[in-house]
């Protein structure tokens, strides 16, 4: 399998003030399903536009199937774009919308008719050929938009925020449909989202972005379990964060001095952290409310102050001696408010992060407290 897309040190400025992409680099394998995830304004749409070729960049390069895209216009790139609001051509019926790419490639009408029929079947819109876009529901419009993009069989299919305009129930179904469709077609899909749930559940490769830079690339599990920066830890899932500094380090295992006392945790990088300020994080679902027989690397006594019901899990809110709140997610069980319990977690679940974010000029304290 080759590389479908290579982005190399990409820099994009809007005017002289706004830096939208700051030396962004990453590779995408042929046939991968990539989700670029980040808050709105982080540069993910800009990145997509640069890959599409509708936006020029300032420095760096993009390679599609190992060919440099410098100066290559959008219509010569082997990509198809599905923009956020579907952008169906309002003056064309569904058939002509889907046929557009093939007509631009001057394929024969008989061939086009067959392919449009197949594409509409794939997205479950058989018999919709004669409809106008204005007569379709939001979900149907989106599926027409997908059919229009996949029909040209692009090397890379780019989908900008494809789930942000459909309702919650449909989102789940669309995520499944996307993955099935991608598996069936076998080409490379790259989509963006600002909703962490979408990224975590859909992506084969997840790219987390913030403020014009890539924070981390990996599988959902890698990123959830071993976030490299505080930004990633907070953006992907929920996390309890505590300030601290490293007392001793043995490869990846660190002992950290924090306001909760000495804690042990794991550092995913290989820098020497001795005596350095770090952030210590632990996911709410990794903390256990201990029974007598249990043994954990880290134990803390804390008072239960409240809880929130989430269906299968309950989020308990504990307060430790130093007035630090700890969130714990666990199966419903009977605990009393105001009573003190012992909480425990293992070293592998203590995430040690030495960088607040890959973006420059962000202090670790800033990102833990506030914002």
């Amino acid at each position: 399998m080759g590389t479908a897309l290579k982005v190399e040190e990409l820099v994009k400025w809007y005017g002289k003030e706004v830096l939208a992409l700051d030396k962004v680099s990453f590779d995408v394998e042929e046939g991968d399903f990539v989700v670029i995830m980040g808050p709105s304004g982080c540069g993910k749409s800009t990145l997509l536009k640069c890959i599409t070729g509708i936006l020029p960049w300032n420095e760096g390069d993009i390679y599609i199937r190992e060919k440099s895209m410098k100066g290559v216009p959008a219509y010569k790139r082997d990509i198809a774009l599905m923009p956020e609001r579907y952008a169906l051509f309002p003056h064309m019926r569904v058939f002509d919308n889907v046929a557009f790419g093939l007509r631009m490639r001057r394929e024969r009408e008989s061939e086009i008719k067959k392919k449009v029929g197949d594409a509409l079947k794939m997205v479950g819109l058989e018999g919709f050929e004669k409809r106008w876009p204005g007569e379709l529901s939001g979900g149907q419009r989106q599926r027409v938009s997908i059919a229009r993009a996949i029909i040209v069989n692009p090397a890379i299919l780019l989908l900008d925020e494809p789930l942000s305009h459909v309702d919650y129930r449909l989102q789940r179904k669309m995520m499944d449909d996307f993955r099935d469709l991608q598996k069936e077609l076998g080409n490379t899909w790259i989509l963006t989202t600002h909703v962490q749930e979408h990224g975590l559940s859909m992506a084969r490769t997840l790219v987390v972005m913030s403020n014009a830079v890539i924070e981390q690339i990996g599988t959902s599990g890698e990123i959830y379990n071993n976030p490299k920066t505080v930004f990633t830890a907070r953006f992907v899932g929920d996390i309890n964060l505590i300030n601290g500094y490293v007392v001793s380090q043995k490869k990846r295992d660190c002992v950290v001095k924090t306001e909760l006392g000495e804690l042990v945790g794991t550092y995913p990088g290989d820098a020497d952290l001795k005596e350095q300020k770090i952030a210590y994080g632990v996911r709410p679902d990794k903390i256990q409310i201990m029974k007598d027989s249990d043994a954990f690397d880290n134990t803390i006594k804390a008072e239960l102050i409240s809880y929130y019901f989430f269906g299968e899990v309950i989020e308990y809110l504990f307060m430790t001696k130093g007035n630090i709140e700890l969130k714990v997610r666990a199966e419903p069980a009977i605990y009393e408010k105001g009573k003190t319990y012992t909480l425990g977690w293992n070293a592998e679940h203590g995430n040690i992060m030495d960088k607040p974010s890959m973006a420059k000029g962000v202090k670790i304290e800033d990102i833990i407290y506030g914002r």
């Binding site: 219509y75 774009l81 923009p83 609001r85 051509f89 309002p90 204005g134 229009r148």
Partner: protein, 293 residues
């Protein structure tokens, strides 16, 4: 159950009809009635201005349709009007395109639109008279030609030709073409062009298949405005076109001679030609799509 017969009841039951009554009266009185009277008069014998149902005839139409001059006038009228409309489109489209796509600042868009409207504050006759100082014997164009040595004597033919008429028609009508096109273009989502290009459309093909096609209803509306207002115009051709005979002028000259039935027949001919062309235009493009979604 006894029917309510009070005035209040009657008013409230028929409020919708009562509300459209005043504009209906005005429309019938000022638009429909004159048209119908012209239509009736064109089938009347003699020279009177009142319709006499006992003297119905096709004589007037027979008379005008057997004259060779009618066809020459019709050809010139249609030719000039269509040419003027097309030229107006050629001027208005790039300007509307520029306004809709290249001027990103919304306030600047408004300022430019405002500047474009200012000349329309003065009457069209004054606006067209200003061409005297440009195209006249001592006008700017002649001055430039003389001082550049391109001509020894001032060119008189700049004024009072069919080309003068064309220029003045373009100038007096350009906004009626520009605004509908601008309206249609400003509703075109730029994302559509991104998608078109990502699907393999070159800039020129995405312009034709997306931008122009979406602007087409606006073009048709502008086309109708300009075409209708030029084809029936008799004042501008009388003033500026030299000896060029136009259908509107013919109608006017027969009316001047109190030949009402013949004038009416020419009027009906003009109306028929105009309606035929507009019918064809509307068959080409669905005008409702100007306001799609």
């Amino acid at each position: 159950m006894p029917q309510k017969t009070s005035l209040k009841g009657f008013l409230s039951r028929n409020s919708v009809y009562l509300m459209i009554l005043p504009p209906l009266v005005i429309a019938v009185l000022f638009m429909l009635a004159p048209t119908v009277s012209v239509l009736l008069l064109s089938f009347n014998k003699g020279a009177g201005v009142t319709f006499d149902p006992t003297r119905l005839t096709f004589e007037n139409f027979f008379a005008i349709l057997t004259r060779p001059t009618t066809y020459i006038v019709l050809r010139d009228t249609l030719g000039m009007s269509l040419l003027a409309t097309f030229m107006t489109f050629m001027v208005a489209f790039p300007v509307s395109y520029f306004l809709a796509f290249k001027v990103e600042n919304f306030r600047l868009q408004n300022v430019i639109t405002f500047l474009l409207v200012i000349p329309y504050w003065v009457d069209w006759s004054i606006r067209s008279i200003s061409w005297l100082s440009i195209l006249g014997r001592e006008g700017i164009v002649n001055y430039l030609l003389l001082s550049l040595g391109l001509t020894q004597t001032p060119i008189a033919e700049l004024l009072f030709t069919r080309w003068t008429l064309l220029i003045i028609w373009i100038q007096t009508n350009v906004l009626f073409m520009l605004f509908p096109i601008y309206l249609a273009l400003s509703r075109v989502d730029p994302e559509l062009l991104d998608v078109a290009q990502s699907l393999g459309a070159t800039p020129s093909r995405s312009f034709y298949h997306v931008t122009f096609k979406l602007a087409l209803p606006g073009v048709i509306v502008g086309f109708m405005f300009v075409f209708v207002s030029t084809i029936g115009d008799y004042v501008t051709p009388s003033l500026w076109a030299g000896g060029l005979q136009m259908l509107g002028k013919t109608v006017q000259s027969y009316a001047w001679l109190f030949q009402w039935p013949i004038a009416s027949a020419y009027g009906v001919l003009l109306l028929a030609v105009t309606m035929a062309i507009i019918y064809v235009l509307l068959r080409v493009v669905n005008i409702k799509k100007v306001f799609y979604e």
